[in-house]
């Protein structure tokens, strides 16, 4: 199938929730880890609360309350706070490091690898994520995500939705913003990208937050492409 709509030169992807299923991955991993290590906790609650700290922790950097801090380090600080708050006992330094690296081992949604592999045949495909380069690279090696290059937030020293990330990606790719398409399961990410002139593609991930999902069940903006998943996006883009 081909399209008569404009095509991008590069497609940059949100990762957490859009390409990988952080919630199921972390719940599965931590549940198994707790069993092996004999450590008791409400791992589901820990994972949901950990993700809950994600935006507030980045906002502290965004507002200048913290100097530039990589997401790995924000994840670690949030984890320590939650472990203390939830009275989880017996975790060693090595355990905390291993748990934090769990974000490097997130599993892709079923369509992600196939969809990206198709898109890569015609377009530059890269993550444009708040994850740091090493996190995204280790995730890609582990999960088989076939990125052409990895655009982590530490390259820009800024988190989305700072303009430095979206425009920095276009600059490094030597493309006009309108030649780059942001693809995400999050309307807010797309709105920020669209405001800066990027093309946009939405696909819903309605189980990202499990029973706690409150929005992003459907496209709420005038995005260039709305797909059911990444394979459907590839189909709509003619690859």
């Amino acid at each position: 199938m081909t399209t008569d709509k404009p095509l991008p030169r590069a497609i940059v992807f949100d990762v957490f929730g859009s390409v990988v299923d952080w919630r199921t991955s972390l719940i599965d991993e931590l549940t198994a880890f707790g069993r092996e290590r004999g450590i008791k906790a409400d791992w589901v609650k820990l994972v949901d609360d950990w993700r809950g700290e994600y935006v507030p922790s980045m906002k502290r950097v965004y507002k200048g309350e913290l100097p530039w801090t990589r997401l790995d380090d924000l994840h670690r600080a949030s984890l320590e706070k939650l472990v203390a708050g939830q009275g989880i006992r017996g975790l060693t330094e090595a355990d905390l490091a291993h748990m934090t690296r769990g974000w490097h081992r997130l599993k892709p949604w079923p369509d992600s690898v196939a969809g990206l592999t198709r898109l890569k045949t015609r377009f530059i495909v890269a993550p444009l994520s708040n994850g740091n380069v090493s996190l995204l690279l280790n995730m890609a090696k582990n999960a088989g995500l076939p990125w052409d290059t990895v655009l982590g937030s530490d390259i820009f020293g800024h988190y989305k939705p700072s303009p430095e990330t979206y425009l920095g990606a276009a600059r490094l790719l030597d493309l006009e913003p309108g030649e780059v398409m942001m693809a995400a399961a999050h309307n807010g990410d797309l709105k920020a990208a669209q405001n800066l002139g990027l093309m946009t593609a939405f696909f819903a991930r309605p189980t990202e937050y499990g029973p706690h999902q409150q929005y992003d069940f459907e496209a709420t903006g005038a995005w260039d492409y709305v797909a059911s998943d990444i394979e459907d996006l590839a189909r709509q883009l003619g690859v």
Copy 2:
């Protein structure tokens, strides 16, 4: 074959001359281009002189005589100077842009794609090149170079042999310098990397400069690995 020597976690490659054959690629492309466009020139001399401008042009940035300037733009400025100096007539703006983009279309040496593909199964593989990200990315798409990510000089705002490039790569990969191996056909590049604590691998490209090659016929330092080419390096590293 396995090795009992220490293994790196990531291997970063010099590109121009080490992974791709810039001289033959550009001579072939420009000779065909001149014939098609009916433009007369000594294309071999132009290519050799163009590469001759490479180090001096970066040194102007290195010394602070120029602000940060991407390699694409240095290539373009050098080309304009040489075209004028060699009295090549009839080139349009589009021709000059096309010729400069010739550096995005360089062809790999015969062992490069196979060797990198093998190395990628066990190690992170990335270019660590003076090329800008877009140049390296377009080259990779065109030539089938299977990089895990692309470390271009514009990420660091510095050219090799500035320490910011080698140490910046280790930082983005979240590895110690000693876990990263610089691989190149240039002893000078390896010396700079080794001085900063990186591992090193050498393989000669004795025809890189054609009849003008004056050095780098063999390893001149105590490098961790000395291979005949990238496939042999993969073999020595056990993949």
